[in-house]
């Protein structure tokens, strides 16, 4: 397995990455990673998430479509953590990821109140006119349908979500 760090992360995040590695170390997680980045829980951080995932897709030799899907899911999940997890409060998000023989994965840790984002999913109600439709849960719906697997667990009080794309599938 190859795990990557975001070479695109700004210098201000370097210290945070070290904290992330330290805080994430030793936890009984479903997959291991050697490094990651820690970002402030705000919408400006979405750009860093995007760059991290795009680099991961490149290293994992995913197709453009696969990388787009992984990025979309990561963007929606990060947005969900910022908007509905921390609800505007300050906080941090650890992001790491890796390339394995059969998949490329991205993992998020956060210290917002325990919440399984999958429970917030709401499929679009196509019977309701668009202007009257509730769009709550749409982001999680897009995230869940974009990736091949979306796992969540609460580990020592932290929310841990893992998104993955199967490398064996193309497109």
């Amino acid at each position: 397995m190859m795990a990557i760090d975001s070479g695109a992360a700004s210098a201000e995040h370097t210290a945070g990455q070290e904290r992330c590695k330290a805080r994430c170390a030793g936890q009984p997680l479903a997959a291991k990673a050697a490094s990651g980045l820690r970002i402030p829980a705000d919408l400006d951080s979405l750009d860093l998430v995007a760059r991290f995932v795009l680099e991961l897709g490149r290293q994992g030799r995913l197709s453009d479509s696969q990388t787009y899907r992984l990025r979309l899911a990561a963007d929606e999940l990060a947005t969900n953590i910022v908007m509905h997890g921390y609800r505007g409060a300050s906080g941090g998000i650890c992001v790491d990821g890796g390339v394995e023989a059969d998949r490329v994965w991205v993992r998020f840790h956060d210290d917002a109140p325990a919440f399984d984002p999958r429970t917030g999913m709401k499929a679009p109600d196509l019977e309701v006119p668009l202007g009257e439709r509730s769009v709550g849960g749409l982001g999680v719906f897009l995230a869940l349908t974009a990736v091949d697997s979306f796992d969540y667990e609460l580990v020592a009080g932290r929310n841990v979500s893992i998104l993955a794309i199967h490398r064996s599938e193309h497109g």
Binding site: L43, Y68, T79, L138
Partner: protein, 103 residues
């Protein structure tokens, strides 16, 4: 996140050209353009998405806002969206209410 949007209105047709990436960090700017288009009483809204590289749910919410603010009689079209962008619009079921042209 790079995003650039411009609004032009001619003969009742509002055209918003969007370039870059639309997610929660950039959608408020798109939302403002939609709001301005609605304020000008356009009878048709065309979103030129040929150079839109990424679309997340926050951008879709602005389309819902456009439909709510402009009313059902205003036709809304997304023109030239790339395959992943148009796929997201269809997946969300927005293509029932918004035309996808050249996508």
């Amino acid at each position: 996140m790079s995003f650039d949007g411009t609004l032009s209105v001619s003969e009742g047709i509002a055209t918003i050209e969007v370039k870059g990436e639309l997610d929660a960090s950039t959608a408020p700017r798109f939302h403002d353009l939609v709001d301005q288009a609605a304020e000008q009483g356009a009878v048709r809204l065309e979103i030129d998405a040929r150079h839109l590289g990424f679309l997340a749910s926050a951008g879709l919410r602005s389309l819902v806002f456009a439909r709510q603010k402009m009313g059902d009689e205003v036709r809304i079209a997304v023109i030239g969206a790339t395959e992943p962008v148009s796929r997201t619009i269809r997946l969300a079921g927005f293509d029932h209410s918004i035309e996808l042209i050249d996508a």
